[in-house]
């Protein structure tokens, strides 16, 4: 590999450096906690990152290694070796077994925020991450932060109250009770020092009887290794690959982790594109992307949940190419291109041409998505994206639609329409675009184009919706785009009910 290699997985937990040799590449953080570490405060509720009972907080060094970012993640689908060089914080770390509670915990007690209590440690950790990163006060922001945690007992009202109350409570001594914005205390400084020492830029490469976990830090090393060993499974956020292990019991022998490749973790904004490294997480991407395209705020706010967005990467979502992935329709509508790399070679293609058929893409063996290039906004550009699902938050789309167009002199120009959930891949509506382009942006033309959508898509029936519903909604979402742009229908039910 060229780089210096580190065979021992090292991370911080309970204030100690945990050193593990021979960690299986796909052992989850939750399995390690409950089975090896005997820490049973963290629960398994679903083993797929949908319920939040397994929530832990991972603290990692910020860009200039001067402070820690605290992010809630789902330990049930997070592979243990991804913790290398980071700190794992679990519910037991927030307060002693008998002793003063952390303000997050005290607020939940005060507000009667637990009933059966099984989801509670997960809520505690999500609230703790909020506490450490600037707790919101607006109801919709609290909802958003809690979207990755399910509670079946309380109906959430007392938990939302606790989210507001926690920052008002007296703070006991100790590192974790310092809220966002407080001066770094000694314990935290010491953690920062320890993590700096662990992050010495050597690549982790663990070996075990169950396979290997390679985590290069240089992009060339990554490209070289993947070209040489194209059967390695690239792992990014693990929010999909994790489920192959926990749900399908698939054997994944050798993992190639992209998350430590520094050069793939940056976003650069040029005059023409937002250029996103493949390992950038959704949490990191959103402020930049939504600053450019605020119309996509609701879509990305509803993209999975905060803990998933903290782990999942744009590159992973795109390379995975699920027909129901929610970022692709919008990115295709915006005219996004992807930069692919194989060993030393790179090529750039339109995002939509990456997808060939259901679970078939244009990536060659040993080739990977390196960067994603999203065009900057054009003056007068209309952009919209809509997601239809049974539940508002953290659900998978039955239909996801995205539109980009310009209306000049009453004529529709440069319209790009893409849908998810209605074909084997995320796909453009080329016939419909043709029915709209260079024609009047009016009710009659839109109605005519709605009928054309049936030529572009032939959706299926599954547990999320019937083919009929998908077809009707596909048409109606085009109408919604028109109605919103022309002021006929100003808002959706979610905005209305906020």
């Amino acid at each position: 590999m060229g780089d210096a290699v580190n065979r021992t997985l090292r991370f911080l937990h309970d204030g100690d450096i945990v050193e593990i040799d021979g960690a299986a590449p796909t052992r989850t953080v939750l399995q390690w906690l409950r089975e090896d570490r005997m820490r049973c405060g963290t629960k398994e509720g679903c083993a797929e990152g949908d319920c939040g009972a397994c929530m832990v907080v991972v603290a990692s060094l910020n860009e200039d290694a001067t402070a820690l970012d605290y992010r809630a993640i789902n330990s049930c689908i997070q592979f243990l070796p991804t913790l290398h060089g980071k700190e794992l914080i679990t519910v037991e770390n927030l307060s002693p077994a008998t002793g003063p509670l952390h303000p997050v915990q005290q607020a939940l007690v005060d507000c009667h925020g637990s009933q059966c209590g099984f989801c509670t440690p997960g809520f505690v950790m999500t609230l703790f991450a909020m506490y450490k990163s600037g707790a919101p006060e607006a109801r919709s922001d609290i909802d958003d932060a809690l979207a990755g945690n399910l509670c079946r007992c309380t109906g959430y009202r007392p938990i939302i109250d606790a989210a507001r109350r926690m920052v008002t409570l007296e703070r006991p001594a100790g590192r974790h009770a310092q809220p966002h914005g407080a001066a770094t205390n000694d314990a935290e400084r010491s953690a920062i020092e320890t993590l700096r020492a662990l992050n010495d830029d050597t690549a982790l490469h663990t070996e075990s009887s169950k396979g290997t976990f390679a985590a290069p830090t240089e992009v060339d090393a990554f490209a070289r290794l993947y070209a040489a060993e194209p059967n390695r499974r690239i792992l990014a956020g693990g929010t999909d690959v994790g489920l192959w292990v926990t749900k399908d019991y698939r054997d994944i022998d050798d993992v190639l982790y992209i998350g430590n490749v520094e050069a793939l973790r940056d976003i650069s904004v040029t005059d023409t594109v937002i250029d996103v490294g493949a390992a950038v997480t959704f949490t990191e991407l959103m402020p930049v992307l939504l600053d450019e395209y605020p119309e996509l705020t609701d879509l990305f706010r509803r993209w999975a949940s905060p803990p998933i967005r903290n782990a999942a990467t744009l590159g992973g979502n795109i390379a995975n190419g699920s027909p129901i992935g929610d970022s692709m329709p919008a990115l295709i509508a915006l005219g996004t291109r992807v930069l692919l790399r194989h060993d030393h070679d790179t090529r750039e293609i339109d995002l939509e041409s990456l997808y060939i058929d259901y679970q078939v893409n244009d990536l060659q063996p040993g080739e990977f998505v390196k960067r994603i290039r999203i065009p900057r906004r054009r003056p007068g550009q209309l952009v919209a994206s809509y997601k239809l699902s049974k539940r508002f938050d953290q659900d998978i789309s039955a239909v996801c639609a995205a539109f980009s167009a310009q209306v000049e002199n009453g004529q529709t120009q440069h319209i790009r329409i893409a849908y998810g959930g209605v074909a084997g891949v995320p796909k453009r509506a080329l016939a419909t675009e043709a029915a709209l382009n260079d024609r009047p942006f009016d009710e009659a033309t839109v109605h005519a184009a709605m009928a054309v959508l049936d030529e572009d898509f032939s959706p299926l029936t599954d547990m999320r919706a019937s083919a009929d519903y998908r077809a009707t909604a596909t048409r109606n979402l085009l109408y919604r785009f028109f109605a919103e742009a022309t002021g006929l229908g100003a808002t959706d039910v979610y905005t209305y009910a906020r």
């Binding site: 509670l101 009933q115 007992c153 109606n476 229908g489």
Partner: protein
């Protein structure tokens, strides 16, 4: 958020009279007994208990067919898989291969026929969880597919039933309908619901000595687990002990279902001589274990110009699934609640318990009541639309009376009816009339979004309909330092039962709650306890615990009077002290003195619900001790392009009697409402044409999230209410009734759909759950658009 502020004002030691009270007295908003352990991660659920030496982990191998004969089974690859220690099939069950509590039609492991996709066929024990689950996927089973019935309507057509159909009739419904000025027919369709407790089903079986067995089980009914395991193992009940400290939610799903898990773990433990843990992962849990019954209810109703029902006929068909389980009682309760809060003078209620080749449905909060009430509320709503009257007015003309029109179709006289007061109060506080007018005007100018509002009542019968289950036991042990261990037959699933019962004991003995430790439900401490179900947990166990505490108090009183030379009436227990004549001792001092004088400080308490008397052959009598009441007013907005919908405001007024713990009760009301709203909106069970349940994890089955809590949520417990019956401190059961407040959400959506129709008399054709798809379908039908 109003309710929380009100609670904060009620500090634990406040009392209307100003007298000092013990900490955690009855009526105070005391936190859940495990609140601190919940938040600091130290509350141990069954999977968190330190594992015994040599523990094996088990997994089920399940049917891939909805209905098939097993021609042959090759388990050699399972047996040869790494880590596998034992594999069992039906023929390895030592006792009868059955865990059915009511009827023996629930095999632990399938014999020669499988009757639903996901049915356990064999079980594996291995050295790790992963090894067991991987091995269980390696079986080679040769099936001969048989015809599968996958929905209740087909079952009804084929007369495929798990139990005989039942009728409850009063008066002459057919004549009353025929002679009525108006008649309507319709069909109400409501989906099932997965309990989705956050902690999945789990049991650990530990062999002890001389062939006896100890089990940890996440169960609402340790006694039944004990009995089922003893039977399956060919042991006697004395040979099995079952313990459960807490469950991570249950909602009915851990009433009968845990027996399957516990029996399998126990059989493997007995066979291997090693402890065995069987924990279902989420998918297995949702595929293998039962849910709420979905119902199709046809009705025919005759009514007068005011909307008063003159005669009604219901035909309920429910999906019971592959076996009877608790479906008899569930469907009985659906029949008993087909009146909701309304007097049905001439009623004929038919109930068909349909057998389908899907998982056997079971208890879920409300236990059939919600489905009966769902049908009833649709009838009333349809009548109102047909007559062009406000649905609340039609509801009101049909309410039970207090002196007349107060007998249910099953012959019970309703003695505690307060539904009219509750609805009047809520109608005013929620500003229902003005808002309805404002919504109508708004809708007229809004082509895409439509709003709707509904106010629906709840009346729910409290008691097990199986009369013998209405009994409870408790054990109170007082130690020489004056502290207490409390045990009773109830189980803690999050509902706050333990803290409520402890408050009863604190109040009775006049000691602080911190002096009382609630101990795990345990079949060796309180035998033969009923399931913690039917909302009756605190009614039954609170009374039994008070009975036990009073026995000890009487002994202490007698001892004190004799020892300190005064009359018994001069002995008074008050706030951790005992006044004996003109002396005052601490409770601990008196207890210690009593111990030295050889006074027993342990007592069993017992309680059986009075007055109930019900003939289950005729379905008549008094099945319920009393009724709980409430009402909810919900406003929604729907999108007529997509069917998306959202609550905008909810007002609730609920009757908990004189609440034992207003914080706990408020939690039940709010949580029950949201769970009911989930049942009727986002939670959809979906089987593919092969009969595979495809909504078997939170990725596909959507319970409410934080953002589903309405932005304006006003919940009030009815003030100065008390149970007219002599329940524990005049409180009322609160576990199940609030779930049915969620009916208001469905009817608000229905109201918004109706606003899309050119013909206001037309009943919206909306089925539950009101997913975007179902709402869009109903909107298109209301508008007369062709269904695509």
């Amino acid at each position: 958020m109003r309710a929380e502020r009100e609670l904060e004002l009620r500090k634990p030691s406040d009392d209307a009279s100003g007298a000092s009270r013990v900490d955690g007295a009855v009526g105070t908003a005391t936190p859940h007994d495990s609140a601190v352990l919940h938040v600091n991660g130290r509350a141990a659920y069954t999977d968190d208990i330190p594992e015994p030496r040599g523990l094996l982990h088990a997994a089920f191998g399940v049917s891939t067919q909805a209905h098939a004969r097993i021609r042959g089974m090759d388990l050699s690859r399972v047996e040869a898989a790494p880590g596998v220690v034992a594999v069992i099939t039906a023929c390895d069950v030592p006792g009868p291969n059955n865990y059915g509590a009511v009827i023996a039609d629930d095999p632990i492991l399938a014999e020669d026929e499988v009757v639903y996709a996901g049915q356990p066929v064999f079980a594996v024990a291995a050295t790790t969880v992963d090894a067991a689950r991987r091995a269980a996927r390696l079986a080679d089973i040769d099936y001969e597919p048989l015809e599968a019935i996958l929905d209740p309507e087909t079952a009804l057509e084929r007369e495929s039933f798990v139990l005989p159909s039942t009728q409850l009739a009063r008066g002459d419904a057919d004549t009353a309908i025929a002679n009525a000025p108006h008649r309507l027919t319709g069909t109400a369709r409501v989906g099932g619901q997965d309990q989705f407790y956050l902690e999945g089903q789990i049991s650990i079986a530990i062999p002890r000595e001389g062939g006896d067995l100890f089990l940890y089980s996440s169960t609402q009914h340790p006694g039944e687990i004990q009995h089922a395991v003893a039977k399956a193992l060919g042991l006697e009940q004395k040979d099995v002990t079952v313990e459960c400290r807490r469950m991570g939610g249950a909602f009915g799903g851990k009433e009968s279902q845990p027996a399957l898990i516990a029996c399998t773990a126990a059989i493997l433990a007995q066979r291997t001589g090693r402890p065995v843990k069987l924990r279902l992962d989420r998918d297995a849990d949702m595929i293998i274990t039962g849910k709420r019954h979905d119902f199709v209810s046809q009705y025919e109703v005759g009514f007068d110009d005011t909307g008063r029902i003159l005669g009604i006929r219901y035909n309920h068909a429910s999906r019971c699934g592959a076996s009877a389980d608790l479906s008899g009682a569930v469907n009985d309760r659906a029949m008993f609640h087909s009146d909701n809060a309304y007097f049905l003078e001439h009623a004929a209620i038919d109930s068909h318990r349909c057998k389908t080749h899907t998982v056997s449905n079971t208890a879920f909060r409300g236990f059939g009541g919600p489905q009966g009430m769902f049908a009833c509320e649709q009838v009333v709503d349809d009548i109102a639309r047909h007559l062009g009257r406000d649905p609340v007015d039609v509801r009101r003309v049909n309410f039970y009376g207090t002196d007349s029109r107060n007998v249910t179709p099953y012959g019970q006289v309703i003695e505690d009816n307060i539904i009219a007061e509750i609805v009047d109060q809520l109608e005013t506080s929620a500003d229902y009339r003005d808002r309805r007018r404002e919504i109508e005007a708004w809708n007229a100018n809004s082509p895409i979004l439509k709003r709707g509002i509904a106010l629906t009542p709840v009346k729910f019968g409290i008691s097990f309909t199986a009369t013998h289950l209405n009994q409870a036991g408790a054990l109170v042990n007082v130690y020489t330092d004056g502290t207490v261990q409390l045990n009773h037959g109830g189980t803690e699933m999050g509902q706050g039962l333990f803290v409520k019962v402890a408050q009863v004991v604190a109040e009775t003995l006049q000691i602080d709650l911190s002096r009382i430790r609630c101990t795990a439900s345990d079949t060796s401490k309180v035998p033969n306890a009923s399931a913690t179900a039917a909302s009756a947990g605190s009614d039954l166990n609170g009374m039994a615990a008070r009975n036990a505490a009073e026995k000890i108090k009487r002994r202490l009183t007698g001892f004190a009077a004799e020892h300190y030379g005064c009359d018994e009436h001069e002995v008074r227990f008050d706030n951790n002290h005992v006044h004996v004549g003109d002396q005052t001792l601490t409770f601990a001092e008196l207890v210690h003195a009593a111990y030295m004088a050889r006074v027993s400080l342990s007592a069993q308490g017992f309680y059986k619900t009075p007055k109930i008397d019900y003939d289950k052959t005729t379905l008549t009598g008094r099945p319920f001790y009393y009724f709980a009441y409430g009402a909810a007013c919900t406003e929604v907005v729907i999108d007529t392009l997509t069917g998306e919908n959202r609550m905008t405001r909810v007002d609730i007024l609920h009757d908990c009697g004189r609440s034992l713990n207003p914080a706990v009760d408020l939690g039940q009301v709010e949580g029950g409402f949201i769970q009911g709203a989930g049942w009727l909106t986002t939670e959809e069970l979906w089987w593919n044409p092969r009969g595979d349940l495809k909504t078997h994890a939170p990725a596909t089955y959507k319970i409410p999230c934080a953002s589903d809590l309405p932005p304006d949520f006003r919940v009030t417990l009815l003030e100065s209410s008390e149970n007219r019956e002599d329940t524990i401190y005049k409180s009322k059961a609160v576990g199940e009734p609030p779930l049915m407040l969620g009916l208001s959400v469905f009817h608000a959506i229905r109201d918004a759909v109706a606003a899309c129709s050119a013909d206001p008399a037309r009943a919206p054709e909306l089925e539950a759950p009101a997913t975007p798809e179902h709402v869009l379908d109903a909107v298109m039908l209301a508008r007369g658009d062709a269904r695509v």
